[in-house]
């Protein structure tokens, strides 16, 4: 567990449009071709009538969400329609003879239903809607989508169930200006239809068809589908939900699952993608495929198809294809059970897209590597139990029983591995039709029905056993002692659904969403602190740090990772070429870029601070310093030469520096600059070392440090020359040689890349200067500080997004989330610029080599509004205090540090 994941930090609430698409079961990300069509988004109040049946009309809202047309009734429950524009064959203006001025559109759908839409908005709005609809339809036509419908619907079983016996429809297709490919005439639809179906067609469906009343269910559905459309054009009227609740017929189940969940739109919009994924990844393996392989034989093993190679192969293909499609998620146990269940009723391609909808929309985060969705929904479930069943909740608290020991698998496998399959599938039916709330409703109903017994449970084990008994008895009569035979005939499962939908009808998706929002922060915090504990536990050594200090280092590292995540290439490599369970346990390693961020939070000299004042607020902005010295440190700490540092490397590196005394500080500083590690610095390296010193000192005010570095250089070259070996033998370093350094050098001709200065001489040069001595003794180790990371600073959106773009686009919608300080800042900056009050000052000046020529001007006092300077001054002063107080070295006025800033970076914006 050496990987550190920051992906939870990047969670974003769905935008309004995404939420809307979710609601209608549409793909969230429109395919590339459809990108342009989203311009035609439109909403309008409307009344929907089917086949001009005035009695059965519903008021609601029409949403044009290209390439789909959607409708939702006012109660947001009764009628829900999502149809691809491509399945609309004709749109006409209906002139109602009696009602003048009523704006009605007649829509003829692929399956022949006629929808009448009465636009109840004002006339101009209605006109606008029509214009958008026309344009959106035209785009679909140009894309050739209309043609695809015909071939696509043939893959659906409902087309066999309801043969195209309607000659009218055929004619109309020919007449319709939209359809053109009507070359062949459907003689026998069965002969031409190759519909998708599941393993159940070959291996039989679970359960007794007679007992399940397969025949009558099929009949009812046939009637419904004939009137209300099917597959792509299914209109969901109240009757539809009722039919779903009594259980779907086996043969239609797969198709209705994909229709009700909306995965059919993905299959329709992405023809051939499934096969392509399989083909392009043929022969490849990954951790996920290995994990899948382990579980293939243990997915619903009691079902005959999974005792057969054909069934196993089917399952393997779907799971691996999905793991390639979504490598970040890969494969999670429980997906095998779920997919195995889907495949009984659906084709591979259907199951693949349904899996996508499940992982992406219906069960978000359930199967992700951190499983945060699972944990979150368990927390939400617990909260709902507390609210709806307080007695059970309190009792569990009292006897310390955890709800999720039993309920977690319910949610994770949609009850499939908890209850007998035939019952679980009925819950799955409702789940696809009504959404994730069903899982909660059923869970609550289970607890409620067993309430009395649950109150006697004393421990987790008892709870689990009770649940197991209950699930095993779901087929038994709910009221065995009742005198009424009808009530005796009600089985416990029927009772369960009844309780779930009657008594817990208050649980709706909005409630679940808001509960999820409430607990998301807690859950993420929990997962992250767990990851932190694990990461710390897995360190081989803490060095001289305490556990708390190690925690601080982790926090800084985590923050850096949030701001600069490892490049995606590394990410996929990590995921594909073996994650957690491989021999070479991958570790999160940071690269130079992230290291700079990391160091900037620890070493005072690795960052530049600017004071920003915009008329509304003042704040200090940190920027990452870039210097060869930092890069050097990176490679110095990279003891394994992997080009990246692990948490342990960072800790070891810091350990080597922060606890150094004078001699060891001098030592590592020397080694850091000794590129070939031969114990000698070349002349070039001496210069580089001086530059490093200047870089570190750049924020110090005045000449003292400048002078020191320049003395250092003089001394280094003087001593170096003096100590040049007479006969290729380095002179011994003794106090005597120091004295003799005054005499002219005997051997001044040393090339700039030849060994020149050894450690002992370097040490001598350092010790000759009190300021340098103080620096290496105290200031350098102390310039590394472990400070608590403010949590809010981490919760940001990914860096690299245009901050300004963010501010403009998402400010109002996202300000409430705490991770938008940055956006807020830039927003007020913009306002500050607008009113001419935006100023940025470096709170520490950039003292690098070239500044030697202008030392005086830097400290020259400048007069501006001093009040704005204060924070900056304090920062500088703090720096200086660490340096100066410690050794009482040449003191400068600390205040001067704040004074010089306007000179360098004062920017005034209009």
């Amino acid at each position: 567990m050496a990987t550190i994941s920051t992906h939870l930090r990047n969670f974003k609430e769905p935008t309004k449009e995404q939420a809307q698409r979710h609601f209608f079961g549409l793909p969230t990300d429109p395919s590339k071709e459809d990108v342009g069509t989203t311009d035609h988004k439109f909403e309008i109040n409307a009344v929907l009538m089917l086949n001009e049946d005035q009695e059965d009309s519903y008021a609601g809202k029409m949403h044009l969400l290209p390439p789909y047309l959607c409708f939702i009734s006012l109660d947001r429950r009764s009628v829900k329609v999502s149809i691809p524009l491509a399945s609309i064959r004709r749109v006409e203006r209906v002139n109602h003879p009696r009602a003048v001025g009523v704006f009605q559109l007649g829509l003829t759908l692929w399956h022949g239903m006629k929808l009448t839409i009465q636009l109840t908005s004002l006339r101009p709005t209605a006109d606008q809607f029509c214009a958008h609809l026309r344009d959106a339809l035209k785009i679909q036509l140009d894309l050739g989508r209309m043609r695809q419908v015909k071939a696509f619907v043939k893959t659906c079983y409902s087309e066999v169930l309801i043969p195209v016996s309607n000659p009218e429809a055929d004619n109309e297709r020919e007449d319709g200006s939209i359809m053109t490919d009507n070359g062949e005439v459907d003689g026998n639809p069965l002969a031409q239809t190759s519909y998708h179906g599941g393993l159940g067609l070959t291996f039989k469906f679970p359960g007794d068809a007679k007992k399940l009343r397969e025949g009558s269910k099929l009949k009812l559905w046939t009637t419904y589908l004939r009137a209300h459309g099917r597959n792509l054009t299914l209109l969901r009227y109240p009757h539809c939900t009722r039919l779903v609740q009594v259980g779907l017929p086996n043969r239609l189940r797969g198709e209705l699952w994909e229709t009700l969940s909306g995965s059919i739109f993905l299959r329709f919009g992405n023809p051939g993608v499934y096969e392509n994924i399989l083909a392009s990844n043929a022969g490849r393996t990954s951790t996920s495929t290995e994990e899948i392989e382990k579980d293939l034989n243990r997915s619903l093993p009691e079902y005959p198809a999974y005792q057969d190679e054909r069934g196993i192969d089917t399952l393997r293909r779907v799971l691996t294809a999905y793991s390639w499609k979504n490598p970040e998620l890969g494969y999670c146990q429980a997906m095998n059970i779920l997919t195995a269940a889907l495949l009984i009723y659906m084709s591979e391609e259907q199951a693949f897209w349904l899996l996508e909808v499940l992982c992406d929309r219906l069960l978000p985060g359930y199967y992700s590597p951190s499983m945060y969705g699972t944990l979150l929904d368990q927390r939400v479930f617990e909260a709902l139990v507390q609210r709806c069943l307080p007695m059970i909740h309190d009792h569990f608290q009292e006897v310390d029983v955890q709800l999720s020991v039993a309920s977690l698998p319910w949610f994770l496998s949609l009850y499939i591995n908890s209850m007998p399959m035939i019952f679980a599938f009925r819950i799955v039916d409702c789940f696809f039709c009504m959404g994730p709330k069903v899982l909660f409703q059923v869970g609550l109903a289970i607890l409620k029905i067993n309430g009395e017994k649950l109150l006697t449970v004393q421990d987790d084990g008892g709870f689990i056993s009770l649940m197991r008994e209950y699930f095993a008895s779901l087929g038994d009569s709910a009221h065995p002692k009742s005198s009424d035979p009808r009530s005796r005939a009600i089985i416990k499962f029927q009772e369960l659904l009844l309780v779930a939908f009657r008594e817990f009808s208050v649980i709706n998706d909005e409630m679940i969403d808001s509960e999820r929002r409430r607990y998301r922060g807690d859950i993420i915090h929990g997962i992250e602190s767990f990851a932190k504990r694990s990461a710390i536990r897995n360190l081989s050594t803490f060095g001289r740090f305490t556990k708390d200090q190690v925690g601080l280092v982790y926090d800084v590292l985590f923050k850096a990772l949030c701001l600069s995540p490892p490049p995606p290439v590394v990410m996929t490599k990590r995921i594909i070429s073996g994650t957690e369970e491989e021999n070479e346990r991958p570790e999160t390693r940071i690269e130079l870029q992230t290291f700079r961020l990391f160091l900037a939070d620890i070493a005072t000299w690795a960052r530049d601070e600017y004071l920003v004042s915009n008329g509304f607020q003042e704040r200090v902005d940190r920027r990452i310093a870039e210097h060869e010295f930092i890069d050097r440190l990176f490679f110095f700490w990279d003891t394994n030469h992997t080009g990246a540092l692990s948490f342990q490397d960072l800790l070891n590196g810091l350990d080597g520096i922060m606890f150094s005394d004078l001699m060891s500080s001098i030592e590592w500083f020397f080694v850091l600059h000794d590129k070939n590690k031969d114990g000698w610095l070349t002349k070039d390296e001496v210069l580089t070392l001086s530059e490093s010193l200047l870089f570190i000192f750049r924020a110090e005010v005045g000449d003292a440090y400048l002078g020191t570095v320049s003395r250092f250089m003089t001394n280094a070259f003087e001593y170096g020359d003096a100590l040049q070996p007479e006969n290729g033998q380095p002179a011994p370093v003794t106090p005597q040689t120091e004295v003799s350094a005054n005499s002219p050098s005997a051997n001044p001709e040393v090339a700039s890349n030849q060994p020149y200065l050894n450690k002992a001489t370097f040490r001598m040069v350092v010790l000759a200067d009190p300021l340098l001595e103080a620096f290496f003794d105290v200031d350098l180790p102390r310039s590394f500080q472990l400070l608590p990371v403010e949590d809010t600073t981490i919760r940001r959106n990914q860096p690299g997004l245009g901050v300004l773009g963010n501010a403009v686009g998402g400010f109002f919608s996202s300000f409430v989330t705490d991770d938008n300080k940055k956006i807020f800042n830039s927003f007020v900056d913009d306002m500050g610029k607008a009113i001419g009050k935006h100023q940025v000052w470096p709170s520490r000046c950039l003292l690098t080599l070239h500044l030697r020529q202008f030392p005086r001007s830097l400290s020259a006092p400048q007069s501006t509004n001093t009040s704005a300077i204060l924070p900056s001054k304090n920062l500088c002063a703090k720096q200086l205090v660490t340096f100066h107080e410690s050794k009482g070295a040449a003191k400068r006025q600390p205040r001067a540090g704040a004074r010089h800033r306007p000179l360098l970076h004062l920017r005034r914006h209009r």
């Binding site: 243990r298 093993p301 095998n336 059970i337 590597p369 999720s404 020991v405 591995n417 504990r533």
Partner: protein
Amino acid sequence: MADTSDASQKPVQVKLVLLGEAAVGKSSVVMRFVNNEFQANKEPTIGAAFLTQKCRLEDRVLRYEIWDTAGQERFHSLAPMYYRNAQAAVVVYDVTKAASLEKAKSWVKELQRQANPNIVIALAGNKVDLVSGQTTPRATPASADDEDEADDATATPGESDDATGSESLRQVPKDEASAYAAEAGLLFTEISAKTGDGIVELFTDIAKKIPIEHILASRGSAAPGTSTASRAPAVNLDDANEAKNACNC
């Protein structure tokens, strides 16, 4: 403790958790112990499975409440839910997979820091049937129904001293694991869920090492603060009632 004698007749409930890398055979070990059977294709454990089995010692009967956890790495964060309050843990690794021992070590580390401080931890190297060379002769008739593919070598312990070709499958030397276990203060054994080798002994050894008196004592004195170390109260329904009657000494 007034009810100690009472409890010696009643089985003492012991919560035991199985941890270890995926596919090292945790569930199989439990199946072997609980039902004395070996099933090749069992559904993977989602979250955790819960089983119970009695274990008889000379003077006492223990009732193991076994939590068999999911092995896939992403289920790791759920593990604390199952090992909290556990009095015993079996950390399983696969002798033919070196990495699985590393994972086991990290589990041990986690247990030692996060779990009940009195927890008895056993390290078990599973699948020794694949590396016949090192198997020790069996002492108990635990493997009544050996799988037909069971390694012949296990049936003829005489051969087991000279390692054969199958020994090359072994990636974790017994000595190495044993030395680690000794250093970390763990029980150690090598087992085979397939043949049943060492399974019963494993659970018996754990049972012997469990401070039963301590569990009973802490249960008897349910006064707050007496047993923050071993949070045992959530163990036995009957005893919990007794605990309520016991005085808060």
